[in-house]
Amino acid sequence: MKNYDLTIHEAQDGESFRRVDVIGCLDSHTVVSFEKALHGLLDQSVNSVMIDLSELSYISSAGISALMGLTHRLRKASGELVLLSPTDKVYRVFRTLGFTNIFKIVDSEAEAEGIFSPS
């Protein structure tokens, strides 16, 4: 029933990236606090972030814009933003608009590891 919730997981020993879970809707309303929280995280010189989208039920252009902005900022800092397991509905929006080639989208944490720490 919750419309929006965000969890920024604590940094784990030896983990090469920070993990964030976003659930509910990412629209013009909820994106305001989403962006505040994520840019707050990046200000702590975090430059590898994985956002779990497996419980994101809706995304609008405002949410896509926020993800694009984060991707841009992290890439400039030689980091990366990885999106984990978007729901079918959100994936379809990425696909119809042409974002599946732009965002790094993965199906598992292992795959994300491979992007953050290429061997």
Partner: protein, 179 residues
């Protein structure tokens, strides 16, 4: 009769109209209503998602842009929001609303999003292609593109000094959009 009380598009019956404050908290309820209507009219799950998003983008644009001269934007603090609510309800901020009209027909749904705000430039606003948006690293401009991609017919009207009327039509059984 105020300017926005103009008649429905020719031949359509306005079945439902929502009027609400330009507050982003209204977007989720408005989306819920739009998707329920679309489901009931027999649109496919994909089409329902597209209608949801187009209606959301159109209403979000009213909050984001139409009333910026009054200080209205999505990222207000609760206090700022309350002050604007008060000004609107006392009438000192004018008739500053989002108005969504829905017309049901056998073969289509028509949504009109109407505001009394600053209006839209004649040149089609927003980005023309997603690449443009990607190159500048986000920063908006995608909403109109989504509306144009996801709805079958989209027109803007600017009745003299009265904000914007965005009319979006979705036909039942139309093929999927391609971006």
């Amino acid at each position: 009769m105020s300017g926005t009380d103009r008649p429905a598009p020719c031949g359509e019956v306005i079945d439902l109209e929502i009027r609400c404050l330009p507050d982003t908290r209204m977007l989720a309820p408005v989306r819920a209503m739009a998707t329920a209507i679309a489901a009931q009219q027999g649109f496919s799950p994909d089409q329902i998602d597209q209608i949801e998003m187009a209606v959301d983008e159109a209403c979000a644009n009213v909050v984001r842009h139409a009333y910026r001269h009054l200080g209205i934007s999505p990222d207000l603090s609760d206090e700022e929001r309350a002050a604007i609510h008060a000004a609107v309800s006392e009438g000192t901020a004018g008739d500053c609303t989002i108005r969504l009209r829905v017309s049901l027909a056998e073969d289509r749904l028509v949504f009109q999003v109407i505001d009394n705000g600053i209006g839209i430039d004649k040149t089609p606003p927003g980005v023309a292609r997603v690449e443009e948006f990607v190159e500048r690293g986000g920063g908006g401009g995608l909403g109109m593109l989504i509306i144009r991609n996801y709805m079958d017919e989209v027109t803007y009207d600017q009745p003299e000094g009265q904000g914007t009327i965005l009319t979006m039509t979705k036909y039942l059984g139309n093929p999927e959009p391609t971006a």
